[in-house]
Subunit: 681 residues, 2 copies
């Protein structure tokens, strides 16, 4: 995408166009962050105008470069770039910065604004997303490119600031990028010495180049981040590096161009004010009114023609590729579009039939592996992994090929190391890139470490499968640090995340199938360490499971109560049902593997499963409070409202009263006081 | 604590005593992690016998060295050390490893086992705790030591493995340790090249010494972690370092001593098996039966006499210090014991009176700062901070002295940088050390980043105050990445954490007072960015607030419904109450600033606030589901069950229907259908 060299004076004006769009929009919104855009405008000008491969008319072009603004608070920089480059982002959109329903949200949001590749703002995660994008590019290039046909060949560029580098996730993601040798990843460090509390010297004294060299990165610079010539040379140097990701250290002044506020943290997150902006217009010789960019500058920014040529050339080369490799091309197009194989209904059917035929005690983590044994061979887009718990999470299927052992084969499995947050944010980047469906495992309790990345997968509606094993006190001896108590309930609160806790292999298989079919968000699978009995494979059960909650075993007589259970507590519920039947008490057992699914069912289904007039008792080896939404105040919940303990699982279940005997007596008591007031404590 | 040089052959046997206690206990439990203890036994022997300053008879001696096993899965190493050194941990306790209610839990638990300084297992956090301990030591030494009186003068030692170093929190904590120049912190890196997925080379290739030098650490080694002479020299070198924390890189073999399994990941987390243990006994010339340690070795391990002498000497020197500096000595003893000043009742009274007198609109984050302005001057033990949001969290009081600007003064405030997880785990270490009460701020949404450290503060029952501002969509334009939705509900699920969401300055002051008085756990304060009206300071209100939920404004007439609200939604609730009164509908407004507190009240209080027979409607700008535990299925909840959006706050409240008008109509509808069935959807 090299163009004729741009005169430096013109470059300055082009960068200043970004600056003034930023300060004018922030001023109009009376809200926003001018500091980073002013500081990085010169870098952005050189990168976007001379190097970024993109087509503003088609933000979905598969072989475009990815650009990530990891310091997402600088959103106006990105919006100005998109607008001037010719994306469908009008001047009126910029004028509506940070207003309700505008395309220019406070932080960049993927799916909301054309050209935004990922939602950023939570610091460090954009960088990790970019690592995931570069990883996806490398894997897809390995899988799909053929001699003379480089249909996957693009870079991932990241802007980041001190905040991103202070966050621990930058360590996890950049260490992995070094291991993976992601040489098409180039990060620009906005080294301005300022963060919100002031001069970073008081809390951030890392030798960042030394740190990144320790990860196996190539470090370029420091260069003057306001010197276009130096930046051009640095980018050229970065593009020539092989086998290593690149960090370009750019020395900048935060708020560069603001005459009195530049270089201070005052410029970070508040409007400059009319006086400062007027002074800045004078100082930078920018006589134009707010939101006005001269036509000549607009023309020099417009990337539509060159972008169209670039994509057209790629389409021609892809057509040649398709002629030579029709099957690969079809698979590439299918996976880029996010579709499952045409034979998916058969694959799903076979998966579920196999699961339904199982008997005996099987840990649901093992059931999950059984599913993966089957699926990995049939879905080349699956990219598995674990945060150093492969043998515990059982996330590797028979067809899994680990990166570090792949040799000439294309890997489809990653040992992410003990990096739960990095893994999850990298998976988000892989999903955002497209062409792959990432899943990754850790212990359920350590979903805490990854929590904001799980949230981000939901906010961005990305198809990521979070495999969370050792899902309760049932893991036993490792004790309370490893035993989830509040995690099921707290993950169920993340909007858009489907949380599955299957009770046997059929429910596990449905959870996998539904998670893969889901195009609009992530799923979390809570899986047991300990063996669970199979609940049978009657026809129709799979369909009922997919509804999230269903009648697993109907009462033998007129219904007196409903027991709701999930996962490993289904066995207890069924035992209690038998005991109650022996006592002449007829109860139904409802399995609720996915509350969110159940909540999305029509009222008729929900009422048929949980008849309004029948009292309910829920049991789950987790915090009881969330179940009040199903049992109300008239019902009862058996759960654990404190931390677990270190002991064999059976001892713990007894200690915490999660037994068929106690459930039986609680059901009897609850039925007895059913007529009592709903609101009593 | 130097002793006569120990012959190397004896050292090997002393280390092997640790090894065999480990493998025998793990074998007996049929569960546990032998790899790290076998690999680090030689290091432990040199450190504990020749350098660690401690008194097994008094694990609470204030000037003891702190020892942290950050790779907490190696718990048997620590239990063996404690047992042999003479702590109140008997051989029978070791034999009950990982059994219910034993003192030897699967992972070390502080408060559960004498001599355990922190609960470890979640990787990386022990290291961060140790940074907090070393920080506390440095701050307390600065505050309390006087020429000739080094009453605070101890080291913090950490064992850690590859897993700890892969975790992002190691970056955050170690970067801070470098900034703070914590030269009494010495970390031993168990560099064995193995993690659970196998040889780390496939996922962890950091140049760790280079990385730590980039943080400003001194790196010693690599040394042979099985060579006592080399280890002794390395420790001597570490102790001589000034101004920098020290990392000693110890090359070890995981499972050292296990003849066939050493050096493989098979030895990490499973019993060796009887055959391997027998072979190990033969190979290491250890003819003793399981759990038998020869008396000569026991005598060489016993640290009670030397520990008693060390503590006695310190007590004598403290007595001299007390004579010369009686007030400082009294303050030291009070803060070490965790008690508040004798004048605390008056301080509290004055704090609350000042808050009750406030009027007008005040953001609760500003109210919190008003409290800190008052408290920081009166409680020298307060150690504040923020994850680079001091000006937003308003966590600095007038008397706060920032580390980086302290000069000769003792700092009581830290800019932690953008390191939420590191900050929270460092705060845990500070609290565990004793003598200080840490509080730290970030945006509420980024509590996600710190979540497992918040959990650990609850599990360890430590007095840490997590200040979480910008607590809802009320923060406005920053948008959904910054707007908590699920965070209130999900933090309320962490057992033992008190979550406060005050509605005005008086509630904020009570929240602060109660959080400081609380000796048995952490608190989280959710505080608004936007202004909130004051609700008046009637006598008795403060006492009611401390109960977590109370009648803020009684109905004007026979009660038809109860509105429950928190924080910024109290204003909406009160407006709806007025509107309903105008319509002839009498409702009570209950403020529920702390659900956990309310849940701990006697039934009579709870029933008096929420009469069982009266229908309830809750409103909170957060996920609605958690409120079902109070409103049941007959009531209603106004909340937000999806993500927020970027816009001015008022627009968002209107968009999400969090208005007095909607609340009014929902209350009317709910009363109307009150007689309907409880269980309908």
């Amino acid at each position: 995408m090299e163009r004729d060299p741009t005169p430096l004076a013109l470059r300055r004006d082009l960068a200043n166009a970004l600056r003034f769009l930023t300060v004018d929009a922030v001023e109009q919104a009376k809200s926003g962050h001018p500091g980073a855009p002013l500081g990085m405008a010169d870098i952005a000008e050189v990168l976007w105008r001379d190097h970024l491969k993109h087509n503003p008319a088609n933000p979905q072009w598969p072989d475009r470069d990815r650009f990530v603004l990891s310091n997402g608070h600088g959103s106006m920089l990105l919006y100005a770039l998109l607008h001037l480059s010719g994306y469908a982002l009008a001047l009126d959109d910029l004028k509506a910065f940070r207003q309700f329903a505008s395309k220019t949200a406070g932080h960049p949001e993927v799916g909301h604004t054309p050209g935004v590749e990922t939602t950023t703002g939570p610091l460090g995660q954009g960088l990790a997303n970019a690592v995931g994008m570069a990883l996806a590019e490398k894997l897809l290039a390995q899988r799909y490119n053929r001699p003379g046909h480089n249909i996957v060949d693009h870079r991932s560029w990241v802007f980041l600031g001190d905040g991103c580098l202070m966050e621990g996730i930058s360590h996890e993601a950049c260490s992995l990028a070094g291991v993976w040798g992601l040489d098409k990843l180039v990060a620009f460090y906005d080294d301005n010495g300022i963060s919100i509390d002031g001069h970073v010297d008081g809390w951030f004294r890392d030798d960042t180049p030394g740190r990144f060299r320790a990860y196996g990165w190539q470090v370029v610079g420091p260069v003057d981040g306001h010197d276009a010539t130096a930046l051009a040379a640095a980018i050229a140097e970065a593009k020539a590096v092989r086998g290593k990701p690149v960090l370009i250290v750019c020395r900048t002044r935060i708020g560069h161009g603001a005459p009195s506020k530049a270089g201070t943290h005052d410029v970070h997150g508040a409007p400059l004010g009319a006086g400062e902006i007027a002074a800045m217009r004078a100082a930078l010789n920018w006589p134009h009114p707010p939101f006005v960019v001269p036509e000549a500058l607009r023309a020099a920014w417009d990337a539509r023609a060159v972008g169209d040529r670039a994509e057209s050339a790629w389409r021609a080369s892809f057509a040649a590729y398709r002629r030579q490799y029709p099957e690969l091309a079809a698979e590439f197009e299918r996976t880029q579009a996010g579709g499952l194989p045409e034979s998916w209904p058969e694959i799903r059917g076979e998966l579920l039939a196999g699961a339904a035929a199982k008997s005996g005690g099987i840990a649901s983590r093992k059931s999950s592996q059984n599913c993966l044994d089957f699926l990995v061979d049939r879905l080349p887009e699956l990219l598995g992994g674990s945060a150093d718990l492969t043998g515990s999470n059982l996330t590797a299927g028979r067809g899994s090929v680990a990166w570090h052992a792949a040799g000439e084969r294309t890997p489809n499995y990653l040992s992410y190391g003990v990096r739960e947050f990095g893994m999850s944010a990298v998976m988000n980047g892989v999903a955002l890139h497209g062409g792959l469906i990432p899943y990754g495992g850790t212990f359920a309790v350590f979903s805490d470490y990854a929590r904001n990345a799980i949230r981000m997968s939901a906010l961005m509606q990305q198809r990521v499968v979070h495999v969370l094993t050792h899902d309760s006190i049932g893991l036993g001896e490792d004790g309370p640090t490893h035993q989830p108590v509040e995690h099921l309930g707290s993950l169920r609160l993340i909007p858009g995340l489907d949380v599955w806790r299957p009770c046997d292999e059929l429910e596990t298989a449905v959870a996998w199938a539904e998670s893969l079919q889901r195009g609009d968000g992530p799923s979390a699978l809570f899986l047991s360490r300990q063996n669970l009995d199979q609940c049978g494979g009657d026809p129709g059960r799979a369909e009922a499971i997919a509804r999230g909650g269903y009648i697993l075993r109907e009462a033998d007589g007129p219904l007196q109560a409903v027991i709701i259970a999930t996962g490993s507590e289904i066995g207890i519920a069924l035992a209690a049902q038998r005991e109650l039947a022996a006592q002449g008490v007829a109860v139904r057992v409802v399995s609720m593997p996915c509350c969110e699914r159940f909540d999305r069912q029509p009222g008729a289904w929900k009422r048929s499963v949980l008849p309004p007039e029948v009292v309910r008792v829920a049991i789950e080896a987790a915090h009881p409070d969330p179940w009040r939404k199903y049992v109300g105040l008239a019902g009862e919940v058996l759960g654990i409202d404190g931390f677990g303990a270190s002991a064999p699982a059976a001892d713990l279940y007894r200690h915490f009263g999660l037994t068929a005997a106690r459930l039986t007596s609680v059901v009897v008591e609850t039925i007895a006081r059913e007529s009592a007031s709903d609101g009593d404590f």
